[in-house]
């Protein structure tokens, strides 16, 4: 069993996806989904992904709720910018240093920043670990730096870099 179950969490997520797609909880579908999930995670092992150790579920839930709230808020902010254009809107790049090292953590941060309207992850300099973000409504550069570092990065460090 141990030889086949390399990524239990991922296998479980894939089984859940299978059952959602099949829209059924019949024993046959559960069996099929389990076989598919085990085969897929076994194939993933050939890619030798970096081992990820997740931090406390509390931090994950906190990050999730913060991100959801921020996405809702910035949706309205960007929609308002489009619907009611202002004359003096500053847009531009923000460059900030990152402490986060884990590749999985960086991938999640990239998703968060880009999925949130109004900010796009542009470039990460891996040598200096400096991130370049483009911001649509750049009022105060320092405010964006502290937003990304304190709201997202601190929690991501807690979750991934341990």
């Amino acid at each position: 069993m141990k030889r086949w179950l390399h990524f239990p969490f991922l296998a479980l997520a894939m089984l859940a996806m299978w059952l959602l797609l099949a829209q059924s909880l019949s024993p046959g579908q559960i069996l099929l989904g389990t076989v598919a999930a085990l085969l897929a995670t076994h194939a993933l092992k050939a890619l030798r992904p970096e081992k990820v150790r997740l931090g406390s579920p509390k931090a994950i839930l906190k990050l999730l709720s913060i991100v959801l709230a921020d996405i809702v808020r910035s949706n309205f902010a960007v929609a308002a910018i489009v619907a009611f254009p202002r004359q003096k809107r500053v847009t531009g790049f923000v460059s900030l240093p990152l402490e986060l090292q884990s590749r999985a953590g960086l991938a999640v941060l990239a998703l968060i920043i880009t999925a949130t309207p109004g900010t796009v992850w542009v470039d990460l300099d891996r040598r200096r670990n400096r991130l370049l973000v483009h911001v649509l409504d750049l009022v105060d550069e320092q405010q964006w730096v502290s937003l990304i570092k304190e709201r997202y990065e601190a929690l991501l460090v807690e979750i991934f870099d341990r």
Partner: protein, 121 residues
């Protein structure tokens, strides 16, 4: 659509409001894509459609088909997860390509990485 007349009034109203709200958000995102000035400004509004527009329509679909079939229909959540996880990849690729080209052409984009042009990686 043979199933639609079976939808009770309250559900039809709720689903209608959600679908229209989602469509309005997506439309605003698309208008922004057309109307804003520069490439980097225009990359932002479409994310409104791919986040709140998508979420509202997915929610409407979940409510509509849960009520119609009188059992929870939640598989639409997979659409939300896939869209949220894959669209940022495209946005990042586009942004990086634009940045690379502007650095190559020597235009000042006002990005702080400018002191290290082109050969950033």
């Amino acid at each position: 659509m043979s199933g639609a007349p079976d939808l009770p009034g309250w559900a039809a109203l709720l689903v209608g409001i959600l679908v229209i709200a989602g469509a309005v958000m997506t439309l605003l995102g698309s208008i922004g894509l057309v109307r804003l000035g520069t490439f980097f400004e225009r990359i932002h509004p479409p994310t409104v459609g791919s986040s709140s527009g998508m979420a509202l329509i997915v929610l409407a679909s979940m409510i509509c088909f849960s009520v119609l079939r009188s059992r929870p229909a939640v598989h639409e959540i997979l659409i939300a997860i896939s869209v949220t996880m894959t669209t940022p990849v495209t946005f990042m690729l586009l942004a990086r390509a634009a940045l690379y080209r502007e650095r190559l052409e020597g235009q000042s984009t006002g990005d702080p990485g400018d002191e290290d042009p082109v050969h950033s990686d």
